[in-house]
């Protein structure tokens, strides 16, 4: 009992050391708080709405006006301008006043009435994929609905009965259901994942700031140090994985025990890696510099924004050395998709292997002459 009390006193001693170091405090505490306010800001809108588009209506008929109105009504785009010709439209496009151009050629209505195909053209900016997809979905949906109405009228006019006409035009119904992130929200997609990386990077940096170029803690102090960082970061796990989604209304379905099962080995792997880096680079500024620069590229190894299947095998294998490469998608699976421990077993195993590897490495490196002073 007394031993435990001594140990706890030691743990609080470590926390006091951490709070006394301005850089470590601003990285491991203040930094995460600032990030939790700042980082989600660009994405709080969740879904992209009302992309401004310009329409070139060369037909100026009832049908063409209906098409334009229907497009404007959708959430996806906003018809902010109408242009007489491509020249004017292109000018608005280059100025970034609009991000899409819809052309309704002359003869649109006449073609429909004569039962000829009445094509429309849509141009959007392939350099911004989210914008492109909005514009194309808007045009395709509206053209599809209008086309179906036109067709239905044509077939029933030929004496085909109502239900047969419907069946003929679309014999199979396709329904697309988005699961886990039903509205396809951008914040729901990027924030839970990004904060796993933020936890890893700040923890690695903090350990670097507190231990690089210094004599590593030993004995009870070492275990107290590990316990202190572990405790602090388990609080941050709860904060970033539960409170932040709540604050930004991001749906989460995760089960606490499973979250714990992935969070514990992940935080341990980060602590071990942090000590290994601190022992390897005996220069505080160097550690921070290195970690700040590699942060963003690490995100693209996680499989969240770019599928892991597309990453070449050897790079994927090397990337397993960084805890976030497997942990990010495991956290997301648990929190956002309701995965069980079994579903993320491989990621948990990888984290445990990393704990062992980096602990051994840190111990080995601590015997280097520069760490023994």
């Amino acid at each position: 009992m007394i031993k435990l009390r001594h140990f706890l006193a030691e743990v609080f001693g470590v926390i006091r050391t951490l709070l006394a170091d301005d850089s470590a405090k601003s990285t491991m505490i203040v930094g995460i708080l600032i990030y939790s306010v700042l980082y989600p800001q660009p994405y709080v809108g969740e879904v992209l709405r009302d992309v401004p588009v310009v329409v070139i209506d060369q037909d100026k008929s009832t049908a063409s006006r209906t098409l334009v109105r229907e497009m404007d009504v959708t959430d996806l785009v906003d018809v902010t301008m109408s242009a007489p010709d491509m020249e004017t439209a292109r000018d608005a496009f280059y100025r970034r006043d609009v991000y899409g151009i819809v052309v309704i050629p002359a003869g649109f209505e006449a073609d429909i009435l004569a039962s000829r195909p009445a094509p429309v053209a849509a141009y959007s900016d392939g350099s911004y994929l989210l914008i492109y997809s909005n514009v194309m979905r808007a045009v395709a949906t509206v053209a599809g609905t209008m086309g179906a109405q036109v067709n239905y009228a044509r077939l029933t006019a030929q004496g085909i009965d109502d239900s047969t006409a419907r069946t003929m035009l679309s014999p199979v119904t396709v329904t697309n259901v988005s699961v886990f992130n039903p509205q396809g929200g951008y914040a729901s997609y990027v924030i839970p994942a990004a904060f796993v990386l933020i936890l890893q990077q700040t923890l690695l940096m903090g350990i670097g700031l507190l231990h690089a170029g210094r004599k590593p803690p030993a004995g009870r102090r070492l275990w107290a140090t590990i316990a202190a960082y572990f405790g602090l970061y388990m609080i941050w796990v709860a904060f970033t994985q539960m409170l932040i989604p709540y604050l930004y209304s991001i749906p989460r379905t995760g089960d606490l025990v499973t979250l714990f099962l992935i969070a514990v080995p992940f935080i341990c792997a980060c602590i071990a890696m942090g000590f290994a880096i601190a022992m390897a680079i005996p220069w505080r500024e160097g550690v921070v510099f290195f970690l700040v620069v590699i942060g963003m590229p690490l995100f693209f190894l996680s499989g969240i924004s770019w599928p892991v299947e597309m990453i070449p095998d050897h790079l994927r294998t090397i990337s397993l050395l960084v805890p976030s490469s497997t942990a990010i998608s495991a956290f997301v699976a648990v929190d956002q998709m309701g995965a069980t421990a079994q579903d993320v077993a491989k990621a948990i195993q990888t984290q445990i292997v990393l704990v062992v590897v980096y602990s051994a490495l840190a111990v080995a490196l601590s015997r280097l002459p520069h760490n023994r002073r």
Binding site: V44, G45, T167, V174, M205, F289, F290
Partner: protein
């Protein structure tokens, strides 16, 4: 250490995005019908370039498990009696469940599977209309009365190299350049009497700033150019602009980043504090720059925050000069914006440098040549 790090990162990013477009992403099928027609749909789905059917599962609960365990990005569910219902004209419903938590992959496979089913449906429709005595050509016209000619301007294949890699490289460079500027200025600012010594050596703030930053300007320009050579030569990313203007933008971008980094170094209390502050400001800038989620869809705060980060105008200028090939006149206002950032950051830096250089030297016993906070 300085030059290899961004180059290694560039190389790694290039390897990640080398395929350009995701292909053969895994999907699973729940075919409860097991008919000739349902097998035809599955074959058609598998034949699409972006999708590969990796599993046939017996139930939806197994399918859900496959989604959660990330063995598949989407499920194609064909209901029992699909063929039978179809022949009776009862409009069977085929459902595509796509994992939108993985927005890119889930979106691609979801769209691909829906297109496959629609194509199949159109095929059936065509046969039904022909059976009604409507000729093939007429029937084809009937299926899509208002065809949409969709054209992605500038990036016709919707390639991720052009869209993402081309934007990520400058983002990594911005962090790298700011960090080197922080380190080079902190060396003086955060060592005892460093700034007065700088005063003795350089004599004027302008010369001090140039002397500190210029070497890294060359390093930064060289690395940025090297990255672009890889992008445009090796990956054949399109370049439709003016090389001189493109280079000028890159140069202004590097200078603006350096001025911003150095300014942070002079404001912060110590070197690691400066690096931390720099990280907080610069690291999230990719989101604010509006490449992934566009700026016009953001809150006012995010739009304003984006305005002060050099990456935002630079990425716009890059798009103008590479993909869009916009005539120069359209880029002028954005260039003025980047230039204004450069002017503001440099002036503040000049003022801060002059102020700190003017400090009277403090006599300390153990003046060290290098900042050695790490050893304290």
């Amino acid at each position: 250490m300085l030059v290899p790090l961004p180059l290694i990162l560039f190389l790694m990013l290039a390897v990640i995005f080398a395929p350009g477009l995701p292909r053969d992403l895994p999907v699973a099928v729940v075919d409860l019908d097991g008919s000739t027609m349902s097998r035809q749909i599955v074959r058609m789905a598998d034949a699409a370039a972006d999708v590969e059917v990796v599993e046939q599962l017996a139930s939806l609960s197994e399918a859900r498990q496959a989604l959660v365990a990330q063995r598949a990005y989407a499920i194609l569910m064909i209901p029992a009696g699909m063929e039978h219902d179809l022949l009776l004209g009862q409009k069977p419903e085929v459902v595509v469940f796509s994992n939108s938590q993985f927005l890119t992959a889930g979106g691609i496979v979801g769209r691909s599977l829906s297109t496959t089913v629609s194509t199949f449906s159109a095929g059936v429709s065509l046969r039904l209309l022909e059976a009604q005595g409507i000729g093939t050509d007429r029937a084809l016209d009937l299926i899509t009365p208002i065809p949409v000619q969709a054209s992605p301007l500038f990036n016709p294949s919707l390639d991720y190299i052009q869209f993402l890699l081309s934007a990520i490289m400058p983002t990594v460079m911005q962090i790298f350049i700011c960090a080197t500027a922080v380190l080079s200025f902190s060396r003086e600012h955060h060592s005892p009497n460093g700034m007065p010594r700088l005063q003795r050596i350089a004599r004027s703030p302008t010369r001090a700033i140039l002397g500190k930053l210029l070497p890294y300007t060359f390093v930064g320009t060289f690395v940025l150019l090297l990255g672009d050579v890889v992008l445009f030569r090796f990956f054949g990313a399109s370049f439709r602009g003016n090389i001189f203007v493109f280079f000028l933008n890159g140069f202004m971008f590097i200078l603006a980043c350096q001025a911003m980094g150095a300014l942070i170094a002079l404001i912060a209390k110590d070197t690691t504090g400066a690096l931390g502050m720099m990280g907080l400001i610069v690291a999230p800038s990719f989101g604010f720059a509006g490449v992934s989620f566009p700026r016009f869809g953001m809150t006012l705060f995010s739009q304003i925050w984006g305005v002060i980060i050099p990456l935002t105008p630079y990425l716009q200028l890059r798009t103008d000069q590479t993909l869009r090939g916009a005539p120069l006149e359209y880029s002028l206002s954005t260039m003025a914006w980047l230039f204004a950032q450069l002017v503001v950051f440099s002036s503040l830096l000049w003022l801060m440098t002059r102020k700190t250089m003017a400090q009277t030297p403090v006599v300390i016993e153990n003046i060290t040549a290098e900042p050695q906070e790490s050893k304290t």
